[in-house]
Amino acid sequence: MSTAILPPRPPTPTVPVASVATADGGPGDSHVAQTGVWIGIGTITMSFAALTSALVVRQSGAPDWQHLHLPALLYVNTLVLLASSLTLESARRRLSPLGLHVTVALGLLFVVGQVLAWRQLIAQQQLLASGPSSAFFYVFTALHAAHVLGGVGGLLYVQRRLAAGVLALSTYKAAALYWHFMAVLWLYLLALLTIRG
């Protein structure tokens, strides 16, 4: 192919963190990561909206719906996830690596907490196939946890770029946006599962 006669490629503009803090929106600091996250948020919202409508339809026509008593541990997990949003926000504003480590740890703690909540339900014989309410509970929480783990992956990427001094501030903003969305989505799911589940 024509790759042999390539002209030299212009260097990819990556601005070191220190200057990025003031050069937000300046040359080389594209908003593309944030655009991507916004589109992702739209998609995830749509998927969970579809599942919500599935829940409503399934519940309305079924004689076999039994209300699921949510494990109290979920409320502790909620606090953990909300706390992680706060630590991330403060870490991002101060560019503090420690705050970022704490956020990642809290995120993982949340997922571990969700797994423990599942184990409690399993111990009460509330399995995936036990009934529609428990089935929806596992589907919602598992999909949400998978998305949280994706967010942890994003934060680890941010961590690495930050340590190397090549992180664009907008990328950080995008990762934080996604992380806060995970918290908002979880609050919605918790409310849905409490009221309708």
Binding site: M1, T3, P7, V32, T35, G42, T43, V57, A129, P132
Partner: protein, 578 residues
């Protein structure tokens, strides 16, 4: 040492490449494999419908259970049909016009170096390929491929192997494949939107976006919403199949004299979720064709597209309306009959923007200096088959006439014309038009024109008679016509079979042209068709960074034909100043 290094860099550049052009070509190659696979399946189906007792040479060896001695069994017929529909709709009509051409051309047309997220883009292709391989695996497992159609209606698709051969592992693989495919297309659509919004070059305002890019952008938005719904639906289906849940399976089912261990699920829930995706999917397949035709017609008519703003407004209207019409697939499904009218009205209303767009194309040809090439012939053919397919939609959009025609060959005729043939004509037009840019060589025009004429007459011979079959009440998805009232229709089925075998064979002409031109075609100049858009401002094929280290600066819209340009040209390039 050096040898190894070269090998790695070849892999990086041509196989695991993050270059949108390589990824676009990979998507197109995948679609090419898929389309010939799907066509082969349709050949077998058509042959069986014409001559059910005659063995197909060699098939007995390939499918010893499904076609022992070469004679296709009823279950194997349904498996062929299911795989034909699935392969064509997902791996041809979504991958070629949207993911394939869109990937190659969208960054070029907006003047970007690459997609916004090149690695995600690469992942999108490889995940699509994985989905395709998972689907093909269904041919080789247990009792063979699934037989519940590309719509996979529950509970047939959900209850497992009690429901018939292929409903075990085959159907599970189908659901997994489609779920994977959803992920791939979501990643792709994300890139399309972000690239168009954020990476447009200097001067490329939204008003100056080429029509094809507009179409890909709008298609990406539709895809994002549609696949975001199909994905969870597939997950629920998989859980019903493997984890014993009852999302779509009601209680009290007795299949093969066994009471099924499920309760409370809703078969209509699957249909609602599926068609909420399924109808917009029709537009995912056809809107890129709209864009391609709107971009190609002005090039060969040597005059601007009539009403460019009207065109884009209509595209957006179609995108919105496409989410309000899914219930027209379900008039007779047992849903509340009052909602039938609610779904019928937007379905009929959506014909208005579609009709306007068609008239804009016809009006563009009026008073043109039309150059008839393979590309423009296929674009004109697109207009013809789209009109035909669109009008038969009138009958199916009305609940009252749908009572008679639902479930007959009239539906098969309708959707093959409007989303199958029309979309394929868009793909053909795009291939002949952009081949020079894709591969740096020209295709053979004589072969291309023969391909057009024979295909055009061929598709009308195949699909027009299916309307007549439908009017006579011929039910679709039957592997044989044993009912008394269907017997007199068998000669017409044989005619269709002959036409299908012939038209399929004509496609080998296209394949030959494609392969030979790729290797031996004459070198293509930068702008062989005298077109305006940015991809024609760079070399054929474009260098790795698309514009050779320079930045295209856009000074004109894409529609500047029939003007007085520099050097006596009758058009103005979008990046004229270069």
């Amino acid at each position: 040492m050096t040898h190894v290094a070269v090998a790695q860099s070849f892999l990086r550049r041509q196989v695991f490449s993050v270059d949108h052009k390589v990824i676009g070509r990979q998507y197109l190659d995948l679609a090419l494999v898929a389309v010939f696979t799907g066509m082969l399946l349709s050949w077998l189906m058509r042959f069986h419908l014409g001559w059910p007792e005659t063995p197909v040479p060699g098939l007995g060896k390939l499918a010893p259970t499904g076609a022992a001695g070469g004679v296709i069994t009823p279950e194997y017929y349904l498996a062929l049909m299911t795989m034909h529909g699935t392969i064509m709709i997902f791996f041809v009509l979504t991958t070629a016009p949207f993911a394939g051409f869109g990937n190659f051309l969208l960054p070029l047309q907006v003047g970007a170096e690459d997609m916004a997220f090149p690695r995600i883009n690469m992942m999108s292709f490889w995940v699509t390929l994985l989905a395709f391989l998972v689907l093909l695996t269904a041919f080789f497992v247990g009792d063979g491929p699934p037989l519940s159609g590309w719509t996979a209606y529950a509970p047939l698709s959900a209850v497992g192997e009690d429901a018939g051969p292929g409903q075990g592992a085959g159907q599970t693989l189908w659901a997994i494949s489609i779920a994977i495919f959803c992920v791939a297309q979501l990643l792709g659509a994300l890139n399309f939107i972000a690239t168009t919004l954020d990476l447009r070059t200097k001067g490329m305002s939204l008003a100056r976006l080429p029509f094809a890019t507009w179409a890909w952008l709008i298609t990406a938005v539709i895809a994002l919403v549609a696949f975001a719904v199909l994905l969870p639906a597939c997950i629920l289906l998989i859980l019903d199949r493997v984890a014993g849940t009852s999302f779509f399976i009601p209680g009290g089912l007795v299949i093969s004299d066994r009471l099924q261990p499920h309760a409370g699920g809703s078969p209509l829930l699957w249909q609602h979720l599926f068609w909420f995706f399924g109808h917009p999917e029709v537009y995912i397949a056809i809107l890129p064709g709209f864009g391609v035709v709107s971009q190609i017609l002005p090039v060969f008519a040597r005059k601007p597209l009539l009403g460019p703003r009207v065109f884009i407004t209509c595209l957006i209207a179609i995108a919105f309306l496409s989410y309000t019409v899914w219930g027209h697939h379900m008039f007779l499904s047992g849903m509340n009959p009052f909602s039938a009218t609610l779904f019928s009205v937007p379905t009929l209303v959506i014909t208005i923007p579609a009709a306007i767009i068609t008239l804009l194309w016809i009006g563009t040809i009026y008073g043109a200096r039309l150059r008839l090439t393979s590309a423009s012939l296929f674009a004109l053919g697109f207009v013809s088959v789209f009109v035909t397919g669109g009008l038969s939609g009138f009958f199916l959009a009305q609940p009252s006439t749908d009572i008679y025609l639902h479930g007959t060959y009239f539906v098969v005729a309708h959707f093959h014309f409007v989303m199958g043939v029309a979309a394929m004509f868009g793909i053909f037009a795009g291939t002949y038009f952009w081949f020079p840019k894709l591969f740096g060589r020209m295709m053979n025009e004589t072969l291309g024109k023969w391909h057009f004429w024979l295909t055009f007459i061929g598709v009308y011979s195949i699909f027009m008679p299916m309307h007549y079959l439908g009017l006579a009440g011929n039910v679709r998805r039957y592997s044989a016509f044993t009912d008394d009232y269907l017997q007199p229709l068998i000669p017409l089925h044989r005619f269709i079979t002959v036409a299908a075998l012939f038209t399929g064979a004509v496609q080998l002409l296209f394949l030959f042209n494609l392969m030979r031109s790729r290797l031996r075609g004459p070198k293509a100049p930068n702008n062989p068709w005298e077109a305006t858009t940015l991809e024609w401002s760079t070399s054929s094929p474009p260098p790795h960074d698309n514009f050779g280290g320079r930045r295209a600066v856009v000074t004109h819209g894409p529609n500047e034909y029939g003007v007085t340009g520099p050097g006596g040209r009758d058009y103005l390039m979008q990046a004229e100043s270069q």
